[in-house]
Symmetry: none
Subunit: 104 residues, 4 copies
DNA sequence: ACTGAAGGCTGCCCGC
DNA sequence: GCGGGCAGCCTTCAGT
């Protein structure tokens, strides 16, 4: 309490100020991007696209991407579980087989 | 149908592709910013700040800004409701008086 | 599964029926009220009132009420953030002072 | 302007007051019902029901009801189109036949 | 009929 | 892991 500058619960006011400003700055950029996205959708609409379907499409693509990501992660887990085996041709074959099984 | 390139409901595939890519690109940037914001909050937390209160503070500041905006809009509505009256010196004085009252 | 009556995912059909009926009953009443409100606006309009301004007025009054509520909540958040301080006479004075400042 | 009481754009303040109060009263009741509905959904949830599916069910039932309503209206249109014919036994038979055809 | 806003629903993120 | 809280999306309705 006797230090130079105000403080807030033991936090220097400058630190707080910095944090608030950074958050607000980032939020503004985020909002600007949201606006941009909305504008692209508007453009799509005036080009005759069905916005609802378009959103669905984007959602599905995002989902697909996430699943690929997921598969990659899983594959890595298996690789580690199999140990160095995965580094050999035989091990790779085993991993590939397992992957096919999971996908099917 | 005999044009070059596929089309989808009369929309050129290239046009659709462009739109999808732009949306996805913008969304990625938006998500990145969301991540950044989360990180700043995490930093704030580990600096000893009460994140809930911090969020409240940010919300409040944003709200205040929005309210100023709102007041402007509101004033315009009232001005229109007062009709041409607002176009006269007397009317302007009335509007100005009302504005002061509301702001105080 | 061997109990009397059908069931749906472990839920007694009667229970489900009761829930659905209650929701539908309440929804009907809600819709009826929406209709009543619309009628009052119509009456206001044919009495020469500017409906747009009237809606704005109602919104404003609601907003004001909500803000008072909000302030109470906010105060509570701050109080908690101040911790046990608020439980002491000095702390209470500080909270009261802050409240006066915010309201003014 | 020289009447007793204030006025607002030629509308008696009492009239305005009455309208505002009625709207606010009705809105409160409407909000209360919305809360009740939310509570029933909450109850359904804690009874193990899938709220999303439940909402879908309610929506479908509402839709069905609207379609029956629609059919009734349509039937009435046909009746009128058939004129007094509908008042005779032969006409009723024709209407009944038409109705069966539509439902099938 | 279209547009723009208001309210309700859904999916996500945080805290427990 | 879950349940509550919050932001974004969708739907509906008033207005033009």
């Amino acid at each position: 309490m006797s230090e130079i500058g105000h403080n807030t619960g033991g936090i220097a006011a400058d630190r707080l100020r910095s944090i608030v400003e950074r958050i607000e700055r980032l939020s503004e950029e985020k909002d600007a991007l949201a606006t941009d996205i909305r504008e692209v959708y508007a453009e799509a609409k005036s080009a005759g696209l069905d916005v609802k379907v378009l959103r669905q499409l984007i959602r599905e693509r995002r989902q697909d991407a996430a699943e690929i990501e997921e598969r990659e992660t899983l594959l890595e887990v298996y690789r580690r579980a199999l140990g160095m085996l995965a580094e050999t041709p035989l091990g790779e074959a085993a991993v590939a087989r397992e992957t096919r099984r999971r996908v099917a």
